[in-house]
């Protein structure tokens, strides 16, 4: 890819503060992404298509869809995040940007955190915004849609953060895509269980506070620990290449 589309990271001096460096990485990732808009659209199209498969493949009955809708949307969102993870480090790895990032004086895990936040803003957040439309299409009621959006809003950053570890581990490997899914899906299962559990509890009229608190705990755990694991994995993958 040419340098016009993918500007270099410019934070070489150690006088750049940590926050400024994170901002720089974040801004660059956003700029690069918006120069290749199709890449942004693809996970969203995938999300919509997977959701479409269920009414056509299983049953278009309102009773089935309104019961399973939240689960379908969650699974589709999970798969779509999984699909987009390959982009998180791949291009930077191919053109050497990632090595420069590792060499920066700022702690790598914070720069990765910035990259992951950018990744979430570009994939997870659009999914959440698209959810109400699809929620109406699978006949969820208004309350369920609101709760579903809330769980996705808390849950998709967790997916991005855990996914960053997998993406870093499988960087530069043969058949990285399948391997990435194999490594990451087991770790996604708890998030999925509590995400759909929240909506199910809300549909039964139970209190969702405890569920949301647990999801928040997942988010905090992932936010504080995942960047460290991803940074360690990234260093290993780069030394391997």
């Amino acid at each position: 890819m040419n340098a016009e589309v993918r500007p270099a990271v410019r934070l070489a001096s150690s006088s750049v503060g940590v926050l400024a460096a994170m901002k720089g990485v974040f801004a660059r990732d956003m700029r690069v992404a918006f120069r290749q808009r199709q890449d942004l659209l693809n996970p969203l199209l995938f999300f919509v298509m997977v959701v479409t498969l269920f009414p056509l493949g299983v049953s278009p009955e309102v009773s089935f869809l309104s019961e399973a809708g939240a689960g379908i949307l969650w699974v589709a969102a999970l798969l779509s995040v999984l699909l987009s993870l390959d982009h998180l480090f791949r291009h930077d790895f191919d053109d050497g940007t990632l090595e420069q990032l590792v060499l920066q004086p700022q702690p790598l895990f914070l720069l990765i955190l910035a990259k992951t936040i950018a990744h979430w803003m570009l994939t997870g957040l659009p999914l959440v915004i698209l959810t109400p439309v699809l929620g109406v299409m699978v006949h969820l009621d208004g309350n369920s849609i609101a709760i579903l959006c809330l769980t996705l809003l808390i849950g998709t950053p967790v997916l991005s953060l855990i996914g960053a570890i997998g993406a870093a581990l499988t960087l530069g490997l043969r058949s990285a895509g399948v391997l990435l899914s194999l490594l990451i899906i087991p770790l996604y299962i708890p998030v999925l269980i509590f995400g759909t559990g929240t909506v199910a509890a809300a549909a039964e009229g139970a209190s969702v506070g405890a569920y949301l608190a647990l999801m928040g705990a997942f988010l905090m755990l992932a936010l504080t620990l995942a960047p460290f694991a991803a940074a360690a994995a990234l260093k290993i993958s780069l030394s391997n290449a």
Binding site: I162, I165, L169, T170, L173, R174, S175, L179, L182, L183, I185, P186, L187, I189, P190, I193, L221, A229, A232, A233, I236, S237, S239, N240
Partner: protein
Amino acid sequence: MWQFFHKLGSPKWFFGISTRFMPWLLAGGILLLMSGVIWGLAFAPKDYLQGNSYRIIFIHVPTAFMAQSVYIMMASAALVTLVWRMKLADVFVKAVAPVGLVLTFLALFTGAVWGKPTWGTWWIWDARLTSMLILLFLYGGVIALDRAINDEKSAARAVAVLVLVGVVNIPIIKYSVEWWNTLHQPATFKLTEKPSMPAEMWVPLLLSVLGLYLIFGWLACVRMQTEILSREQRTRWVKEFVMKGRV
């Protein structure tokens, strides 16, 4: 103390010392496992509720116990790999991951066989069962990642990161039967309380758990020795070992 620590990192030292331990591990393991299983299957009293079908507990609990225990051991070794770069630690992780996979599969399988007569179904999506299934996937992922990376050192360290990340699942399995209302019964053994079953049942169970532990130790040694031989094949002591048959 430090000398011991350094020795522990030496594959040659481990190879020599484990050869001496292995017969004892195997003999003790077979003795304990056989006596536990035979006592449990033939002589322990019938359960008043489940009849004879409960006797699969003497296979199920040891394998399920070991499946989690092996993962914890792997995780400790993974930490050692990342922190101290000790060669033996990553040999251990690589050697026991398939053993853990098989143990987890056996635990799920015997659980299914036990579930059919008592719960009336082979499988339910219960918290304990699901989290054990996740454990199976984690073992599979560890093995797959290890095979995918050609360079031995990077493979070991990448696998170590993955194993440590997967550790979050262990407390979920452990406490799933207490946190959620599940069909699966709570833990059989607890450190702090007396077992809720009579001694004629828990003593043979304990024997088979200990026996399986020893057999696992033996198996881990065998697999580690094989791995060490293939990794150190260019060193002089391995060549001498192959020629003379001893270290």
